[in-house]
Symmetry: C2
Subunit: 400 residues, 2 copies
């Protein structure tokens, strides 16, 4: 099948995470102190939301105070497109910036990561995305130093080796995957997250849970990656409702920010599997928000997997619902899909989202299953239960 | 009190751990592949135990296979002395080695770390040890790349920012503390640990537990450091008896190796407190083995702390004895000192060790309390309960 020459597969270490992480309310103010040695000029990529904001001013003032020049860009679209990323990299090069700062949601951080390596490595972002049956380029030259400032708790991009790139021309969402994509510095400041609206809080939170869940149930999970994933799920379960319903609670926001970071770190050591494959394909086909594309399939995938993951599912169910400590593994595991369904409905404002909610055409379900089956064999093989094309089709029917 | 000029206090990040960790049975064979880019000649510091051993041959062969020259040294004494370390650094410099590999127990790893930075920074190891009321030097130049290969599960030195140095002339055991002391690479191979005798397994295991316990109960512990410490204690509790009583069990040995690594990582983010202060002073005074110096005081310190640490102690007690999930926090916490006493006696071959076992003169208890009280104010202040000199004296009486 793999007749096309491809780069060597990524070899993951038991632990590999060179990023310096600074966490705490008000930590953003210290960005100048942390980056003073990174260079003379920073390319500052901010979510459009931050144009003229106090948070942007905090960053710029802190950098100027230590003598760092800044160039600002607010050109960020939700699912980052390779063409837009390439333009940003060109601009960063023209502006002769020494390092890159990205402040915003997961998409913004992913653009920032790509800009930082494209400046030194050249080519288009799309050339580096992993494609199962096609050749792709790898990062060979160290990127510019990259600083991640997440303002949502979801993708954990500040702690991952990934950058997700969208190619709308071919309806594909693909991933660049390299240890060079770890930020040099991540500043996680819960103050930046107090104003995230409830629905976005829920959607990004679901992404965090999916990361931790999929990393934990990956066949190649290790003691280290499982510890990260389990703690991420615990923090998610204990804090997501409060974050959605009382967003100004800085303690709950901080805990969700840590859940997100640990989820990102978990998938960098033991990656996502089936739910993210389905979700990422859905986002490529119908431009669904990333968290929504996971919300529509997580419980359905788990329900289908049940016989193969009793031990793992029981442990996860008990972290979300500690009262299940009193029942058998089988009973706790069987309760998991409904627990997740119910929780997701609650945090999504009492609405149940499905693939149709995001515009998926039910007549294309067969074609969709075939597309996934033929393009993601390798990643699917790491999941607890590996579906045939027919089983994929059945799962997708359940998600419609 | 601090009229003497001192370096700025160490500022700890939420996460900072640049070490690449490779874990698994047989991983040692791949040391050449991992270090091929580190340089042309390796300074190989091996525990004397490894002279002529198969494990040493594995390392040397793997290095030679990738064209790396080697210089071997087996000059290691249990509690590393600064004079011995300085001689090793001189030898490494004369041999023009590009990087340092240390394979052995915690002391060996600590010497390797010191050699790696002394070669580039100069001076004596003792000049860099942290002294509360005296000036000390800091590492300003990046060390040679350092590779840690732990062969005991205890100090977690492969994942710490510390190197412990003994100065027998003044009966002091002191610590060098710097982010530059993190290894570049750690290879944790449980195969190397299958032959550790029961008593050494117990003594080093107690060190691991003390690290995790003290990090967890440090006032400055964070969500990240607590996660590491709790997982370390869980793995210790589940595996230490099996490691002592059936040392050839590679799975149990592997889990204890991970417990040790996580304990080391925990104290690098939230350091040890009172038990290690007492233990380190005892080793300075009477040359007690490190684990033994902790075994004589841990339960006693906890018993004295009880009213101030109910929540923390209950959580720890339940990780060691899950049946305590059914009782109140107060009851679980109160059970902890006896649980630890009993566990330590069992793993130490049904013997109870005290300060007297290691030759401490009971008539010097007052002097010993005074010495600790005047030299370790700052470190003690991070513990859940801060003792007066009289209280320290009472604790030490209990440990005799």
């Amino acid at each position: 099948m793999n007749s096309v020459p491809q780069p060597a597969p990524l070899r993951r270490s038991f632990i590999r995470f060179p990023t310096q992480v600074e966490y705490g309310s008000g930590m953003l103010k210290r960005i100048g102190e942390f980056t003073a040695s990174y260079g003379k000029k920073a390319y500052c990529l901010f979510d459009p939301f931050f144009r003229g904001s106090e948070s942007a001013a905090v960053v710029l003032d802190a950098l100027h105070a230590v003598g760092i020049e800044t160039f600002e860009s607010y050109e960020v679209h939700p699912n980052p497109r390779s063409g837009d990323i390439d333009k940003q990299a060109q601009l960063c090069l023209e502006q002769k910036c020494d390092f890159v700062i990205a402040m915003g949601g997961g998409g913004t951080l992913d653009i920032g990561k790509a800009v930082a390596f494209l400046v030194t490595n050249g080519r288009s972002a799309w050339d580096y995305t992993v494609k199962e049956n096609q050749f792709y380029h790898t990062i060979t030259i160290p990127p510019l130093p990259f600083v991640a400032v997440p303002t949502t708790a979801g993708t954990g991009s500040e702690a991952t080796i990934y950058s997700v790139v969208n190619n709308p021309d071919i309806q594909r969402k693909c991933t660049i995957r390299s240890f060079e994509l770890y930020p040099k510095l991540a500043i996680v400041d819960p103050e930046l997250m107090l104003n995230i609206p409830p629905l976005l809080t829920a959607l990004t939170g679901i992404d965090t849970f999916a990361h931790a869940f999929e990393s934990y149930t990956n066949k190649n999970a290790t003691a280290f990656s499982k510890m990260l994933a389990m703690e991420s799920m615990r923090l998610f379960a204990e804090n997501i409702i409060e974050c959605v319903e009382n967003g100004k609670n800085a303690e709950a926001r901080g805990n969700m920010a840590i859940a997100s970071l640990l989820g990102g770190l978990a998938i960098s050591h033991s990656p996502t599997t089936l739910p993210h494959i389905i979700g990422q394909c859905l986002s490529g086909w119908v431009d669904a928000p990333h968290g929504g594309s996971l919300a529509v399939c997580l419980a359905q995938v788990i329900r289908w997997t049940l016989p193969n993951g009793q031990t793992e599912f029981a442990q996860i169910a008990r972290v979300i619902a500690p009262e299940l400590n009193a029942v058998s593994d089988a009973e706790a595991a069987n309760a998991l899909p409904d627990i997740i369904d119910k929780l997701f409905v609650r945090i999504m404002g009492n609405q149940r989202v499905t693939m149709k909610t995001y515009g998926m055409d039910e007549n294309r379900a067969g074609e969709f299953a075939e597309f996934i089956f033929h393009n993601y064999q390798k990643d699917m093989s790491n999941y607890l239960r590996v579906p045939s094309q027919e089983e994929l089709y059945a799962i997708i029917q359940d998600c419609l």
